[in-house]
């Protein structure tokens, strides 16, 4: 099968999500093509060449593609995708933004948030915030899939040196313009790639108190997450949100502090290997999914946790 993986990157490095998407891609074929679209993205191309099971890297490198805006890049991708049977991209905000537009241009259906590949045309995807799993079969000649990273392990890079082929097509974009980006700068691991996540909810009561969560995360080398309530209240930035419409994570350890456990939040973290919940309400829904439950006041628990972890 001819399989194309669309790389997610920031013109400097491949995002961690690609290594998960790659695992899904290898379930179709071990001779994959990767498409890198961007501007001055040589280091990304180099990383893509080293991806396991990849034998060709297609590159569209032009200032018109610097911010990968869908108005022109979707046309670029659709033109290439015509030559493939399967096209995959991470189900990140990048993939979700661009792939449906490609699908419309090709007049094919798309399958969102694939968590399992059953056969080359049959996939499992969550619906209703993960409270049901649908097995769907596509009837189209080109299969367009976004891949949920948390459902596939990573495939590490090898000493592979895939060939590079430049695609010279330059498409102008007269419809949209990039203005600014405010990215959360953090030395912590990326939320969707972290081994441990410490997440805070409304129970923290203020942005100042949310700092406890960050301290605890730093103590464990963890990423920081938040419930929708905590983000809406301004305790944490939007990109911390874990849930149905935020990020879906599955770390080895997820520590939920002051989070009641709305189904929308559970949808984003219930596949974590070990879940710890700390909440003063013994009836909180979060306790129905936790492996270790501590019913206690979080303002007493947090200082104790920090002291005990720091001393050990």
């Amino acid at each position: 099968m001819k399989v194309l993986l669309i790389a997610e990157h920031d013109n400097q490095h491949l995002k961690a999500s690609n290594y998960h998407t790659l695992t899904a891609a290898t379930q179709f074929s071990h001779e994959l093509t990767v498409l890198v679209i961007g501007y001055h993205c040589d280091t990304v191309v180099h990383e893509a060449q080293q991806l396991s099971s990849v034998n060709k890297v297609l590159v569209g490198d032009a200032s018109e593609y610097e911010h990968q805006l869908p108005e022109n890049t979707a046309i670029f991708i659709a033109d290439i995708a015509k030559n493939y049977e399967v096209v995959l991209v991470a189900a990140s905000t990048f993939g979700k933004n661009i792939l449906p537009r490609v699908a419309a241009l090709l007049d094919v259906a798309m399958v969102s948030d694939v968590v399992k590949v059953i056969s080359p045309d049959t996939f499992v995807r969550p619906i209703y915030a993960g409270n049901a799993l649908a097995t769907v079969q596509t009837q189209d000649a080109i299969k367009l899939l976004t891949i949920r990273a948390s459902a596939f392990p990573i495939t590490p890079s090898t000493d592979n040196q895939a060939m590079v082929e430049k695609v010279p097509t330059i498409l102008p974009n007269t419809l949209s313009q990039f203005e600014t980006q405010e990215l959360t700068v953090s030395s912590r691991p990326e939320l969707t790639a972290a081994r441990i996540i410490v997440s805070g909810g409304r129970g923290l009561k203020s942005a100042a108190n949310f700092k406890w969560i960050e301290q605890l995360a730093d103590c464990l080398g963890a990423a920081v997450g938040a419930s929708r309530a905590a983000v809406d209240a301004g305790f944490a930035p939007n990109d911390y949100q874990v849930g149905q419409t935020g990020k879906v994570v599955a770390p080895d350890l997820y520590i939920a502090i002051g989070i009641s456990g709305a189904i929308q939040h559970l949808a984003g973290m219930k596949d974590s290997k070990v879940i710890v919940a700390i909440n003063n309400d013994p009836d909180a829904a979060i306790f129905t999914v936790s492996d270790y439950a501590l019913v206690a006041d979080l303002f007493t628990v947090l200082p104790e946790l920090l002291t005990e972890l720091q001393s050990s």
């Binding site: 805006l69 869908p70 108005e71 905000t93 990048f94 979700k96 933004n97 661009i98 792939l99 449906p100 537009r101 699908a103 419309a104 241009l105 094919v108 259906a109 798309m110 969102s112 619906i127 209703y128 915030a129 409270n131 049901a132 799993l133 649908a134 097995t135 769907v136 079969q137 596509t138 419809l175 949209s176 990039f178 203005e179 980006q181 405010e182 990215l183 959360t184 983000v231 809406d232 939007n238 990109d239 149905q244 419409t245 990020k247 350890l253 189904i263 219930k270 070990v274 710890v276 306790f287 129905t288 999914v289 936790s290 270790y292 439950a293 501590l294 019913v295 104790e304 972890l309 050990s312």
Partner: protein
């Protein structure tokens, strides 16, 4: 300017859904239905643009069976001026929905189309992007802030790493994220008034659009339930368990 808002009738977000015994889908009979929460945010944003004097007219559209009229009446009570129901009993997938909305957009010629970023039933997050692609209009997805300026709209988007701001030429398609606004509560006078606003029913066949399902649902299953674990009594016990039993720290 004129704004077109697309809304979907879905199982209410508070309902604990049940998978049908024959695995053909999720039980929707005798279940509370409401407007998709993201579409409510889309509706609210349109009304705010009208209150600011930027929009002149709001047309709301939905696709579904006759009961969907109820959802459209809610949209009219929020503040839409007129409603269109594209009536069908068929299962409408995102590409079909986008094709239907394309025809409606061509008939209505709005400057802005606002939709929810995803519906909380099928969780696809595709229709807005597909519609923008079909119309060859710019798209501002996952929007948390909108500013209409002359012939452009400035959109702040919630992306994985933080926020991104784009400027789009009008006409444009916007999909809403949670923090764009807080939808208002409906007032009784507005609910009463909504009953008198125009609601047009258009049989889907009239639009001459291919609505055939491209994705076949083979089965719908309940995921493996996670079992509740144990209670620990204090921080010391918790840390010991995480270290020696779960071995995750």
């Amino acid at each position: 300017m004129k704004i077109l808002v697309a809304v979907k009738r879905v199982v209410d977000y508070t309902v604990h859904i049940r998978v049908k015994a024959d695995q053909s889908g999720v039980e929707t009979a005798n279940v509370k239905m409401s407007m998709n929460p993201f579409d409510e945010i889309a509706m609210e944003e349109a009304v705010r643009l009208k209150e600011q004097g930027i929009a002149k007219e709001i047309v709301v559209v939905s696709i579904g069976n006759n009961a969907t009229q109820e959802t459209l009446r809610t949209a009219l009570a929020i503040g839409a001026d007129q409603a269109i129901l594209v009536e069908t009993e068929a299962d409408i997938q995102p590409l079909a929905a986008a094709n239907i909305l394309r025809v409606i957009a061509q008939q209505e010629s709005p400057q802005l189309i606002i939709l929810g970023k995803q519906s909380i039933d099928s969780d696809n997050n595709q229709t807005g992007q597909m519609l923008a692609g079909l119309l060859n209009w710019p798209q501002g997805t996952f929007a948390s802030k909108l500013e209409v300026q002359n012939a452009t709209v400035r959109v702040t988007r919630e992306i994985d790493g933080g926020l991104e701001t784009l400027r789009l030429q009008l006409p444009a398609v916007i999909t809403t994220d949670l923090r764009l606004n807080q939808p208002r509560y409906l007032s009784l006078p507005n609910i009463v008034q909504a009953k008198r606003k125009p609601l047009r029913v258009v049989p889907v066949q009239e639009l001459m659009v291919n609505i055939q399902s491209r994705l076949k649902t083979l089965s719908v299953n309940t995921p493996d339930k996670r079992r509740a674990g144990i209670k620990v009594n204090n921080v010391h016990e918790l840390i010991q368990k995480l270290k020696h039993e779960a071995q995750v720290i």
